[in-house]
């Protein structure tokens, strides 16, 4: 209303007053009402990046081959909710601490929450857009139990609607499909099509630089792209299953061999799920570097989440650990002085601490087993070291000013 009045007055002034007025007034187009782009319509499709799609099939196959293969498994989907579609850009595993059987799965949400913090460091527009879980039999549709939970849960999602995938292993065995025959591809999603994915130099590039600068013999491990994993596979099982090709027998289904994912949408007011066409697009799985270190994430999730909430300037990234070059998790805490930070490297066996001063790294050995406590002890020690000098400077300055 107010905007309309301003716009009318502005237009009237432009039309009736002299040229000096026109030079000083902003053009009427600047007052034009903008369209509300946050208005969501019913979901028409789900767009999945090819790397996420590949991770689905790889991890489902790996899960079926594991000791818990007869249980259900699942993933939370992280991506973008647009006007009438969702883009799936990352998948967070259920975790080894999940509760599951052949008829249910409940995810370990603490590790997933921390995982979301890590992935969203790069793009705060990412949100939860849905869930995928598997059925051991041939039921390619969410169950009544799924509906009861999901119809309430979708109220937490943007647009009040979510994308739900059901994985089954009931397709024809040994069916090989070429990519040309297979799924419907759409153009890449910016900005992730332009080498700006999480694993392509983003978070890891800066760490690499940090390590190149340091000549310390006990330097923390250097980052490397991580292979995919469910978070429960052994190191030998993490090799990517190169060249997974999928077919799309129906618009809402993706198949690769006997594995099948069927997609559905559900809104808060819906009485049933409806089939959701799926499209693939070139792009990354932004959570993929985290999958090999998921057990580490699970062990430290609660403490690290608390640190995220208590401290500002905290970042997490994957690095290659010291023990056998396996991936590890690094927590960076920015210090008050420019160019200074603390770095905690969480390996499977141990936690190591480093102080970075202008690119020069030195190992720190706090006398505390609890990493959270150790971090605060180091910060206290640094504050103690910085305190007297600053105080002396202030006292000196004060003395000078009073003596003058």
């Amino acid at each position: 209303m107010v905007r309309d009045i301003i716009n009318l007055v502005n237009c009237w002034l432009h039309a009736t007053t002299g040229s000096w007025w026109r030079e000083r007034l902003p053009g009427p187009e600047l007052f034009a009402p903008t369209t509300a782009k946050s208005d969501y319509r019913r979901l028409q499709r789900v767009v999945v990046t090819d790397e996420v799609n590949q991770t689905f099939f790889e991890e489902f196959a790996a899960h079926r081959a594991s000791s818990r293969g007869d249980e259900e498994i699942g993933w939370v989907l992280l991506g973008r909710r647009l006007e009438d579609e969702v883009h799936v850009l990352a998948m967070l595993p259920a975790g080894t601490a999940r509760s599951a059987s052949s008829v249910h799965v409940r995810f370990d949400s603490e590790a997933q929450a921390l995982g979301s913090r890590v992935v969203r460091q790069q793009d705060k527009r990412l949100s939860i857009v849905g869930v995928v879980h598997t059925h051991p039999g041939s039921l390619r549709h969410p169950s009544d139990g799924d509906f009861r939970g999901d119809s309430l849960w979708v109220r937490h999602l943007r647009g009040g609607e979510g994308a739900f995938g059901i994985g089954t292993a009931d397709g024809p065995r040994g069916a090989i499909v070429s990519k040309e025959q297979g799924s419907q591809f759409r153009p890449p999603l910016p900005p992730y099509s332009e080498g700006e994915g999480w694993g392509e130099g983003g978070a890891t590039a800066s760490v690499q630089k940090l390590h190149e600068l340091s000549g310390h013999s006990d330097a923390p491990p250097s980052p490397q792209p991580s292979p995919p994993s469910t978070g429960e596979r052994g190191p030998d099982a993490r090799k990517p299953l190169a060249g997974i090709a999928t077919s799309q027998p129906r618009p809402h289904m993706q198949m690769s061999g006997e594995l099948c994912f069927s997609w559905y949408a559900l809104g808060a007011a819906d009485r049933q799920y409806r089939r959701l066409p799926v499209e693939l697009t070139p792009g990354p799985d932004l959570a993929r570097p985290l999958h090999p270190i998921w057990p580490i994430l699970e062990v430290h999730a609660r403490r690290l989440d608390r640190l995220f909430r208590q401290l500002s300037g905290v970042t997490l990234e994957t690095v290659t650990g010291a023990s056998g070059g396996r991936p590890a998790l690094a927590l960076n805490v920015k210090l008050a002085e420019p160019g200074e930070s603390l770095r905690l490297v969480f390996d499977r066996e141990e936690v190591r601490y480093f102080l970075n001063r202008q690119g020069e790294l030195c190992a720190v050995e706090p006398e505390a087993g609890n990493p959270e406590r150790a971090l605060y002890l180091i910060l206290a020690e640094l504050a103690g070291n910085a305190g007297p000098a600053e105080t002396e400077e202030k006292e000196l300055a004060h003395g000078l000013s009073t003596s003058q």
């Binding site: 992280l78 929450a113 527009r125 939970g149 937490h156 999602l157 900005p191 700006e196």
Partner: protein
């Protein structure tokens, strides 16, 4: 005013905000003290995302 170069994360966020502004009329937020880039209107809070994760129901 801090004239240091943007780091990778900041650059990525700024590109995302500029793209959102150009393509979808999303507002670019600026810091009220020094007009530095402070994100885009499309950003979603950690609390909203984590609340959704922690309330994922059991699936059957």
């Amino acid at each position: 005013m801090d004239f240091r170069p943007l780091n990778d994360t900041e650059r990525r966020q700024l590109i995302g905000a500029l793209r959102g502004n150009a393509e979808a009329d999303q507002a670019i937020l600026t810091d009220r003290r020094d007009t530095s880039f402070a994100g885009s209107a499309e950003e979603i809070s950690d609390d909203e995302v984590i609340s959704a994760i922690k309330s994922v129901p059991c699936h059957y």
